[in-house]
Structures are given as C-alpha cells and as structure tokens.
C-alpha cells in the first residue's frame, strides 16, 4: 500500500481511525502534540504527589477522536506499564499494581461488558467508581479515565432508576464532572493544598478533593476538546498541529503522487501543498470554519480533513469496480484518457475536480450535462463550518477580479490567462489539471451544441471553482468580517466577562431593543401582555389605543462570557449583576448585528432563525426588569399618553 492509499485508509475507516490504549502506534504516521494540559496531567499522576491513600481519579473529558486513548497510552509508557497483548478487542479497563497502589486506566468509549456489569451496565462508570472507592479504603487507587460527557449524562440519568449503586462518591463525582456540582462534596472539602498546590492548567481544567464516606477522594478533570489544534500556537506565528501534520503528510505522499498521471488532481493538490503559504492558507480556512461553527476540530476530524484535502471525497463519482477515492480517481483518469469527444472529456474532468483540494474542502457541487442536476459529494460533520466560510457562496475578497476575468469567456479567451497576466494569486496554484479542466470546459461551453442553460451553469460553476481555488492561495474566506468579529468576541472574554466589541455593540443592542422612534430617543415601546416581546412599529392595526411599556435602552446592559467553548451574550439590568437573559453569540447573530449597521437588519439568510432567539432573550430580560424601569402608556399612531400605575 502506498502513502496515498494509507492516508485514504486512515481517513475513511482503517485500523488507525479509533485508537486503543493497548494498540501500538504505526511509527510511519506523524504524530501531533498532546492537547494542552495533558502532558502536565500525566506528569502529575506519574509523580503521584499525593499521599498513598484514598482514591485519586483523573478524567480526560471530550468527544471521540480528541486523543484521549493516545494520552492513556502515553501514561502507560510513562509508568512503564505494558498494556499490549490484552487481546484482539479493545478493553474497557486495564489494571496494574504500581508501587503499592492499584493503577486503573479506563477507556469509557468501550461499551461495558454485560457479563461483567450485569444490571449495572448502564451505570458502568458509577459502578467502577463505587468499587474503587470501596477498594481504596485498604489500598490506594489511582484511576485515569477517558470519558465522553454524553456518557456521564446517560449515567446520571440511569442512576435515578438503576438499583445497586449506592456509592455517594460515584454520584458526586459524576455530578461534578457533568458540571452540575461545583465540587465533589458539600461542606467537607479538604484544603486544596493537602498534597500539592493546585495545578494551573487553564479554564479547561478543574480539581477538587474531599472526604466522602470516610475515604479521601481527589478528582482532576481536563477537557481535551476546548482548545483549537488548527489555530496558531503561542510558540510561533505559523505553528499549529494542523500545519505541521499537513506538511509531514505531504512530504510522505509526494513521492508516490509524482508517479501518477500529470492530470491527476491528487498530484495537483500535493504540488500546491508543498508550499508553506498554501498550507498556511488551508489552516487559516480551517480556523475560520472553527470560529464559524463554534466547534473545535478533533484530531480525528483533522486527519479526515488532511485526507480530504489531499485525496478528495471517498465517493465522489460512481465508478465500476473502483475502490475508494484513489480508485475513483484512477477510473476517471482512465475515462478521461479514453474520451472520444469534448463532452466525455469534460464529464471525466468535472468528476476529477471534486478531488481538487478547494472543491473537496468546500464540498463543491458538480454541474451535469442536463443543466439542472447538480451532484454534491457526501458531507461530513465538519463541513458545517466549512460551508459557512466558502468564498464562492459568501463573497470573499477575490470574487470581483475573478468575475471580471470570466467576461473573457464570451470573447473566446481564457479567464486563467487574464488572471495570470495580472499576477493574480491564482497563478501560484495553477496546475496541469486546472489547465486541462479549463480547456475542456471552454470547449464545451463554446460548442454550438451546448444548450444555453448548461452553458450558463458551466460558466457559473467555473467562476466558483476559481474563487475557491484562489482562497487556498490568499486565505481569503467568506463571511470574513463576521468571523473576525466573532473571534474578537471570543478573545475579549477569554479570561472573564467582557463588553461586546464596538463593531457589534450597537447592532446587538438595537436588535435586542429596536428603537423605532415611537417613544423618543433611546427608548423602546413594547406592547404590554403581548404573545411576543416585539416593539410597536406603527402598523395600521395600532390605530386603536394599545397598551404598551416604554423602556430606556440603557436599562439593559450586555456582556460576553465564554461557556464550554462558545461565546454567550448575557443581558443584565443596568447596575445589577444577575443575568436576566442570554443568547449564544454565533455567526448568524454576528452577521445580523453587522447587517444592522449597514441598514440591512432582518435581511440576512438567517434572520428568520435569529428573531425568535432575540425575542426570547428580550422577553426574559424585560420580564425581570423592575416596574420602576418601565413607563406604561396608551399608544396610538398619533402619539401616546402616559398612564399612572
């Protein structure tokens, strides 16, 4: 198997997809660094600074593919525990005795064995914690648990019905991990410094200790999914796990790619990705996608993204007998070489275009001959963010130059020639594949037999193709302004509550409390007892007197806060601290706030989804507002009369 095929296997279901603590790594693959805090936590456990008593339990929390099992293996190596040879199947628990203590490595992603846990299968983690607590009364137990938060939620719910797990320690620990409880115990907290000063690993780390049922319990929890592996680290301006891994993969795959057909899009991709600037632009696009979706990529996502960028989607083209993406590409290249006319040649190249890095990344559709049918390659969970930064959909900075170059088609010229003459950044990414594609596309579009609709479809698609490809040269993405503001918000409140940046402060305030001028400057008039907390705006049906409340917009203050990786906009009554309304600050809301400042509020594609959220926050906030902040009025279109209350 060559390097490209290995990459394809890893991304689409090979043995390396799901890590097992007891499975050895394939040294051929490059490795990314452990997530922030993991090395320190492993070091803490290995040094065992606590006295040799009680239960010391470490949790790595996060979704699949974030490197928890990889970290468990790193811990085993550090403690010189040999986990290998445990059997063919992944195991849930690995136990060894180390220096008089029982060390347990638990991989909660592995479903608990029914025969072992019986009726406690649905509360397996709680049952394990209960057993360790019991055991630790006579012998110290150190547990290292890789846990998905969803499982904690399931277990907490199941604990309400399953009999037989009465351990207080288990219930308290699960509640603490789930974030329901602030500490593992109430009122019996052991001073934090009983064995060492608390570790300061950041807001994604917590520790708590106490005596529960007579046993000393120390708990340490680190979230492994609350930091970005694609954004640049503090160590250098261009360093990130994503950039380094991509560069190493390109170096591994390029020798095999160079043996391929010159028209192969995989070869074209790898030629492009040899350039550090292209890798940097690629990582920048991923950063934008993370901000846009509000979700960090996991290592598993990253490997899939690397494979997707290099090889393309797995099932981009129905091929007979071809296996996987590389097989599909080979079949299409064969079809291209055997094509007897321009249409067949273009069909093959359009299929191949889905494997070009820009099309694969943004999940670009492919036009077909009938002019109406458009094929989309399969989507993945991470495409949710990438689609939001697609410059061909959301208008990147490179759009204008490319659209003017497309006028060249009508004159019989080639858009790429114009752009390359102008020194357009596209030139740096231009490959023989792109050249063959453009030539075939223009030949088809300019042929007398090409129907008008199909011709327009082809030209429009090709324009998007060039815009997407250019973004890999410039790093320019769609929705850039909104993403920058969202990132600004995220940075602003990283260390605690912060005011919204000036770019959206007014927009957000106006969205929450729209001032239509009915009640005077900086005042908003809201219909009283209405089903929706919406302002009066002078509609015809308000000719009748309407009961309304007038509120000064300054009565409501806003601040930003980070919660579990997302930015939340909190509303509070001016001069008071209590939060009375909340909104998750995501890309659609930021775009709506920015649209307000351009006088286009209510006109974004997401307006229909934004308004209910704004209204709910408005209703909640105004409901909590003391009567002294509101004036009751009887309003008509001609004015309003203030009422006594």
């Amino acid at each position: 198997m060559n390097a490209i095929e290995r990459l394809q296997m890893r991304a689409f279901g090979g043995e390396d997809v799901a890590a097992r603590p007891d499975a050895a790594d394939d040294d051929w693959w490059p490795k990314g660094p452990l997530l922030p805090g993991v090395t320190e936590l492993i070091g803490d456990l290995a040094q065992r600074p606590f006295a040799s008593d009680g239960l010391n339990i470490y949790f790595l929390l996060g979704g699949a593919g974030n490197g928890k099992s990889f970290a468990a293996r790193a811990l085993a190596m550090r403690l010189a525990i040999d986990l290998q040879g445990s059997g063919e199947l992944a195991r849930r628990k690995y136990e060894r005795s180390v220096d008089g203590a029982d060390v347990v490595i638990l991989n909660d992603a592995t479903i608990a064995n029914r025969a072992e846990y019986k009726e406690k299968q649905s509360v397996a983690l709680a049952a394990d914690i209960a057993e360790w607590t019991h055991r630790s009364a006579t012998k110290p137990v150190i547990a290292f648990c890789c846990v998905n938060r969803g499982i904690i939620v399931d277990e907490l719910r199941a604990l309400e019905t399953v009999q037989g797990v009465s351990s207080e320690a288990a219930k308290r620990l699960l509640r603490w991990i789930a974030g329901v409880a602030e500490s593992v115990a109430e009122g019996v907290e052991v001073p934090p410094g009983d064995f060492r000063p608390p570790l300061l690993l950041g807001s994604h780390y917590r520790e708590s200790s106490s005596t529960i049922d007579g046993t000393k319990v120390r708990a340490f929890a680190l979230s492994v999914d609350s930091t970005s592996i694609v954004s640049r680290s503090k160590q250098g301006p261009k360093k990130s796990a994503a950039r380094e891994l991509m560069a190493e993969v390109v170096a591994l795959c390029l020798p095999d790619a160079q043996k391929r057909d010159p028209n192969c899009p995989i070869l074209a991709n790898l030629i492009n990705l040899q350039s550090a600037e292209t890798v940097d632009a690629w990582a920048g696009i991923l950063e934008g996608a993370e901000v846009a979706s509000g979700r960090y990529f996991s290592y598993r996502d990253l490997w899939a993204l690397i494979a997707l960028t290099v090889v393309g989607p797995r099932v981009a083209e129905a091929t007979s007998g071809a296996q996987g993406a590389v097989g599909g590409v080979d079949a299409l290249l064969h079809r291209h070489s055997q094509a007897s006319n321009a249409t067949e040649r273009l069909e093959a190249l359009l299929g191949l275009s889905q494997h070009r890095l820009s099309c694969a990344l943004y999940r670009a559709p492919v036009p077909r001959e009938d002019g109406l049918r458009v094929e989309y390659p399969p989507g993945t969970p991470f495409h949710g963010g990438l689609i939001l930064v697609d410059p061909a959909v959301w208008g990147g900075r490179d759009t204008e130059a490319i659209e003017s170059a497309m006028a060249e088609v009508a004159l019989g010229g080639r858009p790429s020639a114009v752009l390359r003459t102008q020194g357009h950044p596209l030139s740096t990414l231009w490959t023989p594949f792109d050249d063959a594609l453009e030539q075939a596309l223009l030949e088809e579009a300019n042929s007398p037999g090409c129907m008008d609709g199909h011709r327009r479809g082809l030209i429009s698609w090709y324009s998007a193709y060039l815009i997407r490809l250019t973004s890999l040269a410039t790093g320019n993405i769609g929705n850039k302004a909104a993403i920058q503001v969202l990132e600004e918000c995220r940075v602003a409140c990283k260390l605690g509550p912060a005011l919204p940046p000036s770019a959206i402060d007014t927009g957000l305030r106006k969205l929450l409390l729209p001032d239509h001028g009915r009640a005077g400057d900086h005042k908003v008039m809201m219909r009283a007892f209405a089903a929706r907390a919406e302002p009066l705006d002078g509609d015809a049906d308000e000719a009748l007197p309407t009961l309304a409340e007038v509120i000064h917009v300054g009565s409501l203050s806003m601040r930003l806060r980070q919660r579990n990786g997302r930015v939340v906009l909190e509303c509070h009554i001016a001069g008071q601290d209590r939060t009375v309304g909340e909104l998750t600050l995501d890309l659609p809301l930021v775009r709506e706030a920015l649209a307000w400042s351009e006088g286009k509020s209510g006109q974004t594609d997401a307006s229909i989804y934004i308004e209910p959220r704004l209204e709910r926050c408005r209703a909640s906030s105004l409901s909590a507002m003391p009567a002294s902040f509101k004036r009751l009025v009887s309003a008509t279109t001609s004015g309003h009369v203030e009422l006594a209350q």
């Binding site: 709910r616 409901s623 009887s634 009369v641």
Partner: protein
C-alpha cells in the same frame, strides 16, 4: 369505586385553547349562583344557535365605565382623563389569538381575572362541553403519586403571582368589580387567596393497579411528562421568570401536548391489550409493559418524501383502532376487574373471559373500526392540539404547534419556533439548570415522541438553544436563555 382502566373523559377541542386555562380557572374560582346561565367568550364574531353566550370584552358605552373602573384601581392617564382610550388599550391588550374560523376570540387568559373572561360553554359554543378541568386534573393525577393537589390548584399558584404584578393587578381588580361582578360570588375576596375546587372537577381515581405499576417499573408515560412539566411550570422558579403572557402560552402548549399524547397513549394501550388478549402469544407481563410504554413512537415521525412524512393518517388510524379496542375491552371486562393489583393480572382476567365471540369482536376492532361522533371528536382533539393553528392575522401566529398542514392531504411534524423551547425548558428543573440534549430526548420520549437526534439537534440549533457541542450526541448543553443566576 375507581375504574378498572385510566378514566379519561371524552374530549372535544376548543378552537381557542386558552379555554383550557379558563376551564381550570373556573374550576377553582367559584361562580355566583345563576352566573352560569350564559357561556362566556371574550369577543364574539358570530351568533350561535341553541346556546346563550355573553361577550365579556367591553364595547361601546361599556368602555367608559371600564375606564372608570380601571382608573379607580390606578390604571389611568396622567393629566386629563381618557377613560375610553385607556379602556380600549387595556381591552385590546388582553386579546388572545383569533382563530381563522372560530365564532369568537378568547382572552389571553393571563393572571386570574382575564382567564375567567371565557368558559368552555362560550369557547366551544356548546351547551354541554367536556369538563376539561376534570380531564386535565385526571391526567395530572395519573402522572404521579397523590400529593393532595390538582393541576388546577397548581395553576392557581402561578396565576395568582401574575395577578399580583402591576399593571395587571389593577386590571384584575377592575375586571373583578366590573365585567365579572355578576359572575363571581360577592362574599369571596378579590384577589382570591386560595383555590376552591369544584367537586365535579376532581380527578377520577386511578385504577388500583396504576400507581404501583408505574412506580414499581419506573414507566415514563405522557401522564408523567405532563405532571413533571406542569409542576415545573407552575413552580415559582418558572412562573416568576416568565412574563405573564409567555407563561400562559407555555402553559397552553403543555396542556395541548398533554391532552394529545395521553389520548394517543390511551389508543396504544387498548390496542396492545386487545392484540395480546386476541393472540395470547405474548406473556401477560410483557404485554403489560408494551401497553404502558409504547414500543413505537405515538407520533411516527420519519424523514422521507412528502407522503412518507405524513403523520395525519397514521394518527387518525391509531385513534380509531384504539377507541374500537377500548370499547371491546370494556365490554369484555364488564363489571369485573376492580380488585386486580397489576396490569398483567388484568390481562390474564381478560384472557380468561374472552370466548369465541369476544375474540371475533377484538379482531374486528383491531382491523375495521367504525366511525362515530366520539371518534371524530377524539381525532379532532388530538389533531388540533398538536397542529399549528390557522389564524386570522399575521400577528397571531401560533408558535407552539408541533404539526403543520403542508397541503390538503398531508400533515407533517414541523414544529413552531417556540415548540422546542418549551420542550427543552420542561426538561429542566429550573430556568438556570444545566440541561443537555439527552435530558430533552428523555423528556420527549416520555411524552411518546421519539424523533432522531438530528431532528432535535436541528430544532435546537434553529432556536439558538445549543450552548456547546464539543462532545456531540446527548452531552450537548442547552442554553435556555435565562442565564445562570
């Protein structure tokens, strides 16, 4: 004597579901003797035959008098008195949603007095409407152990809070001394200090086997969902955080879903029992479990073509079979079964009593039920409880429906904007609780609806409720929007 089976009185759906709150209100606020000669509706648009209905919204010359009453309780214009204008503004502010085809409009049923501005007779334009309060109290009682209170009494606690808040408090007093004066007992204080429950609205006793069965096995049913949701919504944690009108809208949403899903549950219950008695292939314990906790979702939502996504016909069919099975089972049990202590025992008894003729009757019920007014009312109640209402104006949109008519033939699961908000909120003990997708799924499953996780996630994302999704799946945290205190 308690019934052998859960005793849900036959319903009829009011075109304005605010009437459900009004029915609860009139079941705990005593009506004056002779005050029930006419039904009440807030605003009447068309005459009704065979039933006397009184409009409670002031009009014409009554406006000035209402304005004077408001003024005497502090709701008045500063400066020159504008009684009619102020009265008009207040009266309009109490409007409920205007249905497209209804003969009248209810008030929004906020607080206590505005909830008393209509009753089931006026809301349904029917002389003998169902006793909604008794039905709702029974659903509440079936949802958990007897704690000595009813759904109507829980409503009273929340309504009393809203009624005490300015400016509604002044409006309440003006209505009590004006529009409602002849309808309320003169001897009772206003605002009422405690609920005085009507005897006829007390809940039916659950069957002797019911609570033991539900508790022993921890069954999650639509009754339990309603009980939990209603207790939460009526608690100070929730009613103090929600504006009066929002609270009333949420309460109506919970009532609508409680009504619809308990009748769907009942249909499934009797269908399973009838099928089990007819075939005898399944042991009685298993059959009892399947009857209590439906194996399939009560609303069979799935993705697909326009016709595949239609749930209207399957709901109607399930209700038709369920009603026919109920009648056949009731006929079969006769006067027996009052002493049984478990549902499995009851199944065994039914199997013993079923002869050849009864088997044929059960088989007929399971295949070809006949139509009738009871069935029509039942199907309409369930359908319109879940369906987004068609309304007379854009400002009256129903945000709380779960179903939507996509064309004349097809009804799809297409929740309104606020549906998921209520469903997610009712999965949270308090407005500031941490609630996750798994909790919402569990809560909705108890109701009898089991959509795929991607459906719920899409609804939550659309409503902007997802606070974080690092883990995906059931661990996704939901931000209800009320803050963390």
């Amino acid at each position: 004597m308690s019934a052998v089976f859960p005793d849900l009185r036959r319903p009829q759906y009011p075109s304005s579901p605010e009437v459900l709150l009004s029915a609860l209100a009139w079941s705990v606020v005593p009506r004056a003797e002779g005050g029930d000669k006419a039904g009440l509706i807030y605003e009447r648009f068309a005459a009704t035959k065979g039933v006397i209905i009184q409009q409670t919204k002031p009009s014409g010359s009554e406006m000035v008098r209402f304005g004077e009453q408001l003024s005497s309780f502090g709701v008045r214009a500063l400066g020159e008195p504008k009684y009619a204008d102020v009265a008009e503004a207040v009266a309009t502010s109490l409007n409920g949603i205007r249905p497209l085809k209804g003969k009248g409009r209810s008030s929004s049923a906020i607080g206590i007095a505005p909830a008393l501005l209509q009753d089931p007779v006026g809301g349904l334009s029917a002389e003998n409407p169902p006793n909604f309060a008794q039905l709702i109290n029974t659903i509440y009682a079936l949802g958990g152990p007897d704690i000595g209170t009813t759904a109507a009494e829980r409503w009273f606690e929340a309504a009393r809070h809203h009624a005490s808040q300015a400016p509604l408090s002044g409006i309440e007093r003006a209505l009590a001394t004006g529009t409602l004066a002849g309808l309320l007992r003169e001897s009772d204080p206003w605002p009422p200090t405690k609920p005085i429950s009507l005897k006829v609205s007390r809940p039916s006793d659950p069957p002797p086997w019911w609570l033991a069965e539900v508790h022993k096995n921890g069954y999650a049913t639509p009754f339990q969902w309603f009980r939990v949701a209603w207790d939460r919504l009526c608690s100070p944690d929730w009613h103090e955080r929600l504006p009066a009108r929002r609270w009333a809208s949420w309460a109506i949403c919970v009532l609508r879903h409680g009504l619809a899903f308990t009748f769907l549950w009942e249909a499934n219950f009797f269908t399973e029992i009838a099928r089990g008695v007819a075939s005898k292939e399944i042991d009685s314990e298993t059959l009892a479990r399947w009857a209590m906790v439906p194996v399939r979702p009560l609303v069979p939502y799935r993705r697909g073509s326009v016709s595949e996504m239609n749930v209207g016909s399957s709901i109607n069919k399930a209700l038709a079979i369920g009603l026919a099975c109920r009648e056949a089972i009731e006929e079969l049990i006769g006067e027996e079964g009052h002493g049984v202590t478990s549902l499995a025992e009851l199944v065994d008894l039914l199997r013993k009593r079923a002869g050849q003729a009864q088997h044929a009757e059960l088989a007929r019920a399971l295949t070809g039920p006949s139509a009738g007014s009871r069935l029509g009312n039942l199907q309409e109640t369930v359908r319109y409880s879940l369906l987004a209402r068609t309304v007379a104006s854009q400002g009256d949109v129903d945000h709380y429906g779960m179903l939507k008519t996509v064309n004349r033939n097809y009804t799809h699961v297409l929740p309104g904007a606020e549906w998921i908000v209520v469903m997610a909120a009712m999965a949270a003990p308090r407005p500031d609780s941490v609630v996750r997708l798994g909790d919402v799924m569990q809560s909705i499953k108890a109701l009898g609806f089991q959509p795929r996780i991607d459906f719920l996630l899409a609804e939550l994302e659309r409503a902007g409720l997802c606070a974080s999704s690092p883990d995906g799946d059931e661990g996704i945290e939901i931000n209800l929007g009320f803050g963390r205190g």
